[in-house]
């Protein structure tokens, strides 16, 4: 088990590096270089501690997801943000694969990277006129956003802490607990009602979008 501090540094230092690099100037670049160097050291510690190939892949892929997500929320150009978001989704898909949930990984790519992001792009390109580019950051909204994010993080940590950190399915689980077959057997058996309700949700989304776009036939 890796202790918490190198892990925390491992995830945070690259972000600090990205942020200072963004700031520009010589001090910014220097600070970025230093934090990336320290991040590399933390990476060494984390990987040196890892026992298996799967654990190493998990750390690398999750770092990709975290860094690209950081770029999404800090960037000023929404189109580049969408590009970074592809990285986030594929990173998460990779984490799913490492956790032996191949199917969820692929669905993550198909639905998030393949479908939802297309919609984002359409919207972003539709409103991406120069005046919207320079939106003000920081201030009360920035603080509120950071506070909300930290609060969410605390909730997730609190919820997951009792489970501990492990990358293998719990003992006693079947050989392929997350295969398509297993998912299907569960979905169309015990979870039938949520499945049918999902179709209602989709229906609402569809009708809502049509109503909001206000496109009526002109006859």
């Amino acid at each position: 088990m890796t202790s918490v501090w190198p892990l925390l540094l491992y995830y945070l230092l690259p972000l600090v590096g990205l942020w200072t690099y963004r700031r520009g100037g010589r001090t910014g670049t220097l600070a970025a270089g230093i934090s990336w160097f320290l991040a590399a050291v933390a990476l060494g510690v984390v990987i040196g501690d890892a026992r298996s190939f799967a654990v190493i892949s998990f750390y690398l892929l999750s770092l990709v997801a975290v860094m690209t997500a950081f770029l999404v929320v800090t960037g000023t150009n929404p189109v580049y943000g969408a590009l970074s978001l592809i990285g986030t989704f594929t990173g998460i898909a990779g984490v799913f694969v490492v956790l032996q949930c191949e199917f969820f990984g692929i669905v993550q790519v198909i639905l998030y990277a393949g479908a939802i992001l297309v919609l984002y792009l359409f919207v972003v390109m539709m409103v991406d006129l120069p005046k919207e580019n320079a939106q003000k950051r920081g201030g009360v909204r920035g603080i509120a956003a950071i506070a909300t994010g930290l609060g969410l993080l605390a909730l997730v940590v609190k919820a997951l802490a009792p489970l501990g950190m492990r990358l293998q399915p719990a003992a006693g689980a079947s050989a392929e607990p997350y295969s398509v077959r297993a998912v299907g057997t569960a979905l169309f058996g015990p979870y039938l009602v949520p499945f049918e309700v999902a179709s209602l949700l989709l229906l609402v989304a569809l009708v809502g979008a049509i109503v909001l776009s206000g496109r009526e036939r002109e006859s």
């Binding site: 198909i110 990277a113 297309v118 359409f122 398509v180």
Partner: protein, 347 residues
């Protein structure tokens, strides 16, 4: 993970990459020759025998051409977009098998780069990412024609992706697996003793939808609305020159190769040849014949792609969208339900 497994992974990756990159020039050549014959011309005939080396000469030419960076372009994205288009197009092939597993160095080696459990979805998922390269490139070009072409491409790709997805559900119901090797294995043998047990015959509606959607997904005529030259100059790659343009071009052909191979696996029985096991070939020759059969089937599909391109005129954009959403989508849903009922009846 042992060392030999690692070495095999790298060697396989190299083989597939070389295979893809060497098939693309042949396709370019055959496309030009075929179109020439269909239009009563000669086609390329200067470089090498029958102009066979023309594509290589083209590559050299592309390398020595000037790159133009349009004013107001997003430089970084403009350069990255062709690579973002090419890489998914090549990568999608990774999950496609081209023959039965063989035995090598005392272990079973599959004739595919990655034998993933969700093979079909992998091809779809990765293939659909290629759309982003097109959209980003179009947006980065700072050109109205490019932007319109890119948007058209994206809307067309997503519209037909739904039909494409629905068309394979019937095949999945017959097979009960997402692994492409299993899909092919399920097509061994014959119906009634003489019709090959291919999904082409078991799923004719699915086959029709898949084939048409495949044209749309690869941006090929009659669905090449994204680069309709009479309306949009060259569509999303209007501003692209030199090797950056060539990468878009290669991506289109790589998509074609992947789609043809996928079509062969899903509907044309893959590498299965009915009755081949009765001839009594040795295991090695048996495997060679099977892989050759696969190559021939996929080759025919590729020829069909080109044949259609030089025969049919282009759709109008509204016709294209209407066809996708009002014809193929309901047809796909009906096919799923029909297959369900028929399977239930055959129990």
């Amino acid at each position: 993970m042992d060392l030999l497994g690692f070495v095999i992974a790298i060697v396989k990756a190299l083989i597939v990459l070389v295979l893809m990159l060497s098939t693309i020039p042949i396709l370019v050549w055959s496309e030009r020759k075929l179109s020439a014959w269909m239009q009563d011309r000669v086609g390329p005939n200067r470089v090498g025998p029958a102009g066979l080396l023309q594509p290589l000469a083209d590559v050299v030419k592309f390398l020595f051409k000037e790159e133009v960076m349009p004013q107001g372009a997003e430089k970084w994205l403009f350069v990255a977009a062709p690579v973002l288009t090419l890489v998914p197009a090549l990568l999608a092939f990774a999950a496609i098998p081209i023959g039965d597993p063989i035995h090598l160095f005392g272990r079973e080696v599959t004739l595919q780069l990655a034998n993933v459990n969700v093979g079909i979805l992998f091809v779809f998922a990765v293939g659909s990412l290629g759309a982003y390269g097109i959209v980003f490139g179009a947006w980065a070009s700072n050109n109205k024609f490019s932007l319109l072409g890119g948007l058209r491409a994206a809307a067309q790709l997503v519209s037909y992706e739904v039909s494409l997805g629905l068309s394979i559900v019937g095949v999945l119901m017959l097979t009960g697996s997402l692994r492409l090797g299993d899909v092919v294995d399920a097509q061994a043998g014959t119906f009634f003793g003489f019709v090959p047990r291919w999904n082409l015959f078991a799923q004719p509606i699915g086959f029709l939808i898949f084939t048409v959607a495949a044209f749309a997904e690869t941006n090929r005529a009659p669905f090449d609305l994204a680069e309709a030259e009479q309306e949009l100059v060259a569509g999303y790659h209007t501003e692209y020159s030199s090797m950056k343009f060539a990468l878009f071009f290669m991506a289109e052909y790589a998509h074609m190769i992947t789609v043809s191979a996928l079509l062969t696996c899903l509907f044309l029985g893959g590498w299965k040849v009915p009755g081949l096991e009765h001839i009594g070939l040795g295991p090695f020759l048996f495997g060679v014949v099977q892989t050759l059969a696969f190559a021939m089937k996929a080759g025919f599909v590729l020829f069909f792609f080109q044949w259609v391109r030089w025969t049919l005129p282009r759709f109008r954009y509204d016709q294209l969208m209407t066809l996708g959403w009002k014809v193929f989508f309901p047809l796909g849903v009906a096919n799923v339900m029909l297959t369900g009922v028929l399977l239930l009846g055959s129990r």
